[in-house]
């Protein structure tokens, strides 16, 4: 598709989407909301134009856009009401790109378009009770049985599992290989017999993540993503896209056209705290940091598009983005004075969600380890388990 001008894009979007006004407020990352309909409607509306995932091929719900065209569309979309796409984020931001990189043609044909149109929701079954930061310690096993695989084990913290149609599931196929080598990635319909989803309630009262128990669940070999033993490589693609925030376009604090002051600042103004010098200082600091975060994320995303693989810049972007979220949440919550103590107070749900931002998608510490090792070239942590068979190393060699 040839590149469109800014005005052409805006007028095409105008015909299908509503403009954002200064008063538009949306939830961020699903906090406190169980709404699927807004996102589904938006994706169904934008899929024919390929507006939400412009770089994907047209037949899969994109428009084959160049990196620069994609960046422009992303910027212009911020002028429109794009709902919080939290329920759809794994498919749009992580599974989609991973399928484009590692999936077969049949898999792409079957799965990409429903992701782009909002018809199917995906979740990410990576973490396990003993595999959090140490993701390569995954124990859920998959044994081949002819044209099928039999999966057994337990996942945890699986966000969106109770909404999902499909899961992308990291499994151990060869326990005698070292931990990173014996893994394989599968797609798993969540209604497969033997899969049981048990929601866990978070302290913000959302029940958005679950434990998933898998016993003798059968999946087709044609649902395997990448080769047997290549699961870690596929997982790294997924995680790199997660850090780079590929799924998070939409929702949050975009600006109406011509409106410079972000919504969270107008809210503070309405509360009357913006007059005080100390508060103004804090607000301005966060605003500045926010802007840098956005540019860092954009740069990371551009870099990823140019090279085809998101790099360690995504870790820097994630660190900054979550710091912004947390700072805004805590400031808004405190700005309500003693009203801020109430569960109806300003910034309540954000404050209750804030700590998780530095944990989900890889903790701050892990992001810094990545930056230290891959950007600064600092010596890595001692890893005795790199070459030992996982069967021996899983409980620790130290």
């Amino acid at each position: 598709m040839s590149d469109l001008t800014e005005d052409q894009i805006r007028s095409d979007l105008d015909s299908i989407l509503e403009r954002r006004s200064a008063g538009t407020r949306l939830t961020t990352m699903g906090a406190g909301s169980d709404d699927l309909d807004d996102g589904r409607r938006y994706l169904a509306t934008t899929v024919d134009g390929g507006w939400h995932v412009p770089t994907w091929p047209q037949q899969h719900g994109g428009r084959g856009a160049s990196p620069s065209q994609n960046a422009l569309i992303g910027r212009l979309l911020r002028e429109f009401v794009v709902p919080d796409l939290y329920p759809f984020a794994i498919g749009l931001g992580m599974v989609g790109p991973a399928l484009l990189a590692h999936g077969t043609e049949t898999q792409q044909d079957e799965w990409l378009r429903p992701i782009a149109s909002g018809a199917s929701i995906w979740c990410q079954m990576f973490s396990e009770p003993e595999a959090g930061s140490d993701l390569a310690n995954v124990a859920l096993k998959a044994d081949q049985d002819g044209e099928e695989w039999v999966l057994s084990g337990q996942k945890t913290w699986t966000s969106r599992a109770m909404w999902a149609d499909w899961a992308i599931c990291l499994a151990r196929t060869d326990p005698d290989q070292p931990k990173h080598k014996g893994l394989t990635m599968f797609s798993l319909p969540i209604d497969t017999p033997g899969v049981e989803v048990r929601p866990l309630t978070q302290m913000n009262r959302d029940a958005h993540f679950s434990e998933v128990f898998v016993s003798d669940a059968r999946v087709l070999d044609s649902w395997r993503i990448g080769e047997r033993g290549e699961g870690w490589r596929v997982a790294m693609t997924v995680l790199a896209h997660e850090r780079a925030g590929g799924g998070s376009r939409g929702g949050g604090d975009g600006n109406a056209r011509g409106v410079r002051v972000p919504g969270w600042i107008s809210d503070l103004q309405a509360l009357g705290v913006a007059e005080e010098q100390v508060w103004r200082d804090e607000v301005s600091k966060i605003y500045a940091h926010d802007s840098v975060s956005r540019w860092t994320s954009q740069r990371a995303a551009d870099e990823a598009r140019a090279t085809g693989v998101p790099g360690p810049a995504g870790s820097g972007a994630k660190l900054r983005t979550v710091k912004s979220y947390k700072d805004r949440a805590y400031l808004t919550n405190r700005s309500g004075g003693s009203y801020g103590m109430l569960s109806e107070g300003p910034g309540y749900i954000e404050t209750m969600t804030a700590p998780s931002m530095s944990i989900r998608g890889g903790t701050d510490e892990i992001q810094r380890n990545i930056l230290g090792e891959r950007v600064l070239g600092l010596p890595g942590e001692p890893r005795l388990d790199r070459d030992a068979p996982w069967r021996e190393s899983r409980r620790g060699l130290l």
Binding site: S127, E130, G132, S133, D134, N137, T156, W157, L200, T201, Q202, M203, F209, E276, V278, W279, Y330, N333, R334, G336, G337, S338, Y339, G340, M341, L342, S343, E344, G345, Y348, T351, M352, P355, S356, S358, I359, R360, T363, D364, E365, R368, E381, R383, L384, D385, S393, R395, G396, L397, L398
Partner: protein, 358 residues
């Protein structure tokens, strides 16, 4: 007031043992869902702990303010879902210092006497207006309402049945109800000297500092235990230096908060302690912010679930931080105090505290 040098050790031991028995993760969780914990309250009341520091001849349990604050520290430490501060050092104190009877059940107070109007005729007070964020009003037997009428501080002992109470909660799910007085009539009498809205506000802040010191300490201990048990990359995560930094933050904030709260308590037990209390509330507020960040981060996803107890403490701390004065309010107060002494007086203020101000 008697000058005590320390806390009665028996108080610490008995209260800690009691709360260990009756306040486990589940009972605290259930109390949040139910909006009250009658069994925890009765076990607590049976020991007489709610009325420590109120003279026995006034219907209290005797003991010093230091003992009462020690109990509050343990209430915070165990996240005990009961109106301990309201019944004793705040409400009980108000009732006792104005000659009212101390009821057998829980008492509450109005942390911010906002929008309340009172008219007195004889020994009756008629109240109007609505007060928000009233702790545990829904289970209180009396609301001790402190108001100034013609320059005289008076306390009315209001029966909550004469009010309309709308249940609300703080971030930790503890009751912070809206109370509408709407013409409630209650017996009222003047307070002894020194008991007034200002000293009440400071006493409220002191009670929260004690609660917060306890909660921070518990959070810090939970985090040390959890990170020593949690294995990733073949070793306890507590062996990672990045995690150890979080543990040190938790521990040092716990020590700082306790030191500040205890210093303020000691001074308050002796006489006016405005400066120490203001400092203690600000210090515990900020310690709470840093400690909750560090402890949550070290826990990973586990700390975000309702199934694991960390949130009992972190959510209480976020709430208590804003009660009886947030950071801005006490910073301003301390700033004004410092400015009032001038450059020459600053050292004397920092070392001498409230004795210099009064």
């Amino acid at each position: 007031m008697t000058e005590a040098t320390g806390v009665d050790e028996l108080v610490t031991e008995t209260a800690d043992r009691l709360f260990t028995q009756i306040c486990d993760h589940e009972s605290v969780q259930n109390a949040e869902a139910a909006g009250a914990a009658p069994e925890i309250w009765s076990a607590f009341a049976e020991t007489g702990f709610p009325w420590i520091s109120i003279d026995e001849d006034r219907g209290g349990s005797g003991g010093t303010l230091l003992d009462a604050l020690e109990v509050l520290r343990l209430v915070g430490y165990h996240a005990a879902p009961i109106p301990a501060a309201e019944t004793g050092v705040l409400g009980g104190w108000l009732l006792a210092s104005s000659g009212h009877e101390i009821p057998a059940g829980p008492v509450t107070v109005l942390p911010n006497g906002n929008n309340i109007t009172a008219s007195v005729s004889g020994d009756q007070m008629t109240l109007a207006g609505t007060c928000t964020r009233v702790p545990w009003a829904r289970i209180a037997e009396r609301i001790a309402v402190l108001v100034e009428v013609d320059g005289q501080s008076m306390v009315a002992s209001v029966n909550p049945k004469d009010c309309v109470i709308q249940p609300m909660t703080n971030m930790a799910g503890e009751p912070r109800d809206t109370v509408c007085f709407d013409g409630a009539i209650a017996p009222a009498s003047p307070c002894v000297a020194g008991v007034n809205p200002e000293s009440f506000r400071f006493r409220g802040a002191l009670s929260r500092a004690a609660l917060m010191a306890g909660a921070i300490e518990k959070m810090s201990q939970l985090t040390v235990t959890y990170t020593n048990d949690r294995i990733q990359f073949g070793r306890p995560v507590a062996r990672f230096q990045a995690v150890q930094q979080h543990l040190v933050w938790g521990a040092q904030e716990a020590a700082l908060a306790r030191m500040a709260a205890e210093t303020a308590g000691r001074e308050a037990n002796r006489g006016p302690a405005f400066f120490e209390i203001a400092a203690a509330k600000l210090i515990t507020n900020q310690a709470a912010a840093r400690a909750t960040k560090a402890c949550h981060q070290a826990h990973g996803a586990m700390g975000m679930t309702q199934e694991y107890p960390l949130h009992h403490y972190s959510r209480r701390l976020w709430s208590w931080r804003k009660e009886y004065g947030g950071d801005a309010e006490w910073s301003k107060w301390l700033g004004n105090a410092a400015v009032s002494q001038g450059a020459e007086g600053l050292y004397a203020l920092v070392t001498g505290g409230s004795s210099v101000l009064s």
